[in-house]
């Protein structure tokens, strides 16, 4: 019987994202038709592009960054904390980690470790500001993290231009001092025939983050307290959870993972934080955490879907289809996913209540004339 309930739950969990993606596909098709393009043509182009090994590498690499970002967001989501500031946290963390990595020189494993720890510390500290403000002054973390994003942008620009910058050879770009080879993480030739493009070596960071997230939340006391607080703060308080402490720790954790978001890129491709370092991944993470329902596997699928859409969209331009159609698709997925989850959630609760009362009346002892069904 337990298995039956479990199966139902999984079925319901899958229904919502599938529904949302289908609905988003429908909307996107309408937009394409209005624009005079063929929806099936666009899809074929996207899928064909994804068959190319180089694009596949790109999908994996993008998905790695998105995955870390989404896990950082999901940690907060699980206790109803909206860390909108992953974006600022990872950018500031990447900048400072790049500077530290460029300045110091250490033997290989140590060098990488110091860079990663710097990123974790900076990310956690930046998110911790929002946590402290919430705990001590009751400031909504939504507001404070959004403002901290802006501050991070300004602070980062100032630090980069005034203190860290060295010119990047052959361009107008400026960046931090490049990290020496001992601080770089070589790529992996995961996809055959991809020639020189390799998958980020730090893809394993994303795997560790996913497994760690799952174990921490589902198997530990701390995770139980966190989830309990997210589900019902009043019940958590009555159960002895110190909610303020949980808020602070959760923000620190979320920020620590956020700090890692830029690392695969920094240590695997850029080696320096410059003006063209990828931005906006923090917001993508919010969308993917929503899509993946805060579930580590769901988030992985969401990150891959996003990576696929982003990496393959380049091919659309070649076919004369505006590649921004992908952004429309991503937007509608997120919107419909939020609605679909709520619908499915309510349906699931009602279904379960019905099933429980049905099972109970079916299990009622026989031999009661009034109670027995005709």
């Amino acid at each position: 019987m337990a298995a039956r309930f479990e199966l139902r739950r999984i079925g319901l969990a899958l229904a919502a994202p599938l529904l949302a993606v289908a609905f988003a596909a429908l909307l996107t098709s309408i937009v394409l038709l209005i624009a005079g393009d063929s929806p099936s043509g666009a899809l074929t182009t996207l899928v064909d592009a994804a068959k190319r090994p180089r694009i596949q590498v790109q999908i994996l690499n993008l998905a790695t960054l998105y995955y870390l970002s989404a896990i950082a967001v999901a940690i907060g989501f699980r206790m109803n904390l909206f860390n909108i500031g992953v974006d600022g946290q990872y950018r500031l963390a990447a900048l400072l980690a790049a500077e530290v990595g460029g300045v110091i020189s250490l033997p290989a494993p140590l060098h990488v470790t110091v860079i990663l720890l710097t990123a974790i510390a900076v990310g956690a500290a930046w998110a911790g500001i929002a946590g402290l403000l919430k705990v001590t002054r009751g400031v909504s973390e939504v507001i404070s993290t959004i403002m901290l994003n802006t501050i991070a942008t300004a602070l980062g620009a100032w630090l980069l231009t005034e203190h860290f910058s060295v010119p990047v050879a052959g361009s107008n770009n400026i960046g931090t001092k490049p990290i020496a080879a001992s601080g770089q993480v070589p790529g992996i030739s995961l996809i055959p025939d991809a020639h020189k493009s390799k998958v980020f070596g730090l893809i394993f960071l994303a795997v560790i983050a996913g497994v760690g997230y799952s174990v921490l939340l589902n198997r530990t006391r701390f995770g139980f307290d966190l989830r309990a607080t997210g589900r019902s703060e009043t019940a958590a308080v009555a159960s002895g959870v110190n909610v303020k402490r949980m808020v602070l720790i959760t923000m620190l954790l979320s920020g620590a993972v956020a700090g890692l978001v830029g690392m695969p890129q920094l240590l695997g491709a850029s080696y320096s934080y410059s003006l063209d370092f990828p931005t906006g991944i923090g917001f993508t993470g919010i969308a993917i955490a929503l899509l993946g329902r805060n579930n580590p596997i769901g988030i992985a699928l969401g990150a891959l879907l996003w990576g696929f859409l982003d990496a393959s969209s380049v091919a659309l331009d070649l076919e004369g289809i505006s590649k921004e159609i992908v952004v429309i698709m991503q937007g509608t997925i997120v919107l419909s996913v939020v609605i679909a989850y709520e619908l499915v959630r309510r349906y699931g609760i009602a279904q379960e209540q019905r099933r429980v009362s049905r099972d109970l009346s079916a299990g009622a002892p026989a031999g009661e004339p009034e109670g027995a069904p005709a």
Binding site: R221, A235, S357, L360
Partner: protein, 489 residues
Amino acid sequence: MANQDVDITVQRGDVHAIVGENGAGKSTLMKILYGMLKPDEGQIFVDGEERSFHSPADAIAVGIGMVHQHFMLADNLTVLENVVLGDEPRKGLGLDFGKARARIKEISDAYGLDVDPDVLVEDLGVGDRQRVEILKVLYRGARTLILDEPTAVLVPQEVDELFENLRGLKSEGVTVIFISHKLDEVLAVADEITVIRRGTTVATVKPGEVTARDLAELMVGSELPTPETRQSTVTDRVVLQVDGLGVRTPDGRDVLDDISFTIHSGEVVGIAGVEGNGQAELVEAVMGMRPLATGTVALNGVDITHESTRDRRDAGIGYIPEDRQRQGLLLEAPLWENRILGHQTQEPNVNGPWIDRKGARQDTKRIVEAFDVRTPSIEVTASSLSGGNQQKLIVGREMSGDPTVLIAAHPTRGVDVGAQAAIWDQLRAARASGLAVLLISADLDELIGMSDTLKVILRGRLVADVDPARVTPEELGSAMTGAGSSEED
């Protein structure tokens, strides 16, 4: 299915009671009548016309209104705003609050509901909130009122007032469908009674023709339990000592003032009072969930005034919270996770920093069996259980791990007679083996029957000690309202 072959005929202007055990399907039936659930088969006739409801709006349109067991009010809005919510009186583009206020006063006066439209709902006690709910339904023009366990939260005087209100409604031609499992009340107020068992109608009777015992037997097929617990098991070992305890609101108002009492091993100390006189705050203060302005709390002689809630729980305090859905359960979590709640540091739920899923599941099964929690599985969410079964799960959980003190706020609220007896039995057995219990209840029979010592709380102060062996519910009720000087010690 929760209901089948349910036949009920309600006459206009009648008070029609529906009684049944928890999980018998009363609430489901009401949800169908109110359009919240759709029946798979069968018809509903209103004033001779067949109707089908797709939503509560359809039910409201034909004059059926519902007062829920769990109030559906927005705490941060005023009474006025709550009442008009979803049916706002318009004046051009704006809202006509003046007109609404006048109508609320009018309805309030007509039925003696005594509701002030301009106070915040969060400042109201449970009894007041219920009157707001009733007013809200009347405001919508309901001519048939469905009341889901309306007396569960009221003291006798308030119940009498409610019944007076119901009679007033009746004389104006309003029909009342009254769901309850308090048989005395049903017999006192109903014109007709329908008994439901396991989802189907068992009988429809007139109150003059049956006794409470007959009804109980129709409901459960067993005898009425009583909460008597006369042989004293009180020892002289002090377990919980509360001294000069005071709690203030942020703006400095005293919610609790100079509360002192002692609970010995094997003793049940009952606190009687009209809801909203500081009971909830007292419980939260003892549990460490609310900062104290003054006073100390000591457990087994150790000062725990500054300990956290978790440390207090670990030290052996069990806690049955007043509001099981908000404080006692994670509604969307499976039962076995709810077993862990509040006992996150204790075996068999955890193993060091790790959750022991197997241990927690096994112990949940034990509780489900020992406390007769009716559920097909421990994997279903807590929200899918009926209220009484949720409460049994909580009681079972809090009695686990041999607590030394149990803080029990309304332990049998919303629980049917069978389960109530089981909970009382468990409490008695634990008390006999030395458990100290702080019992807060609105059920005066329960307070009188279970308590070794009974204190009355009024406006945040303990105003009287009453002897539970001699006091009647009526005397206790008047002591609680402050009417009639406390005749005891």
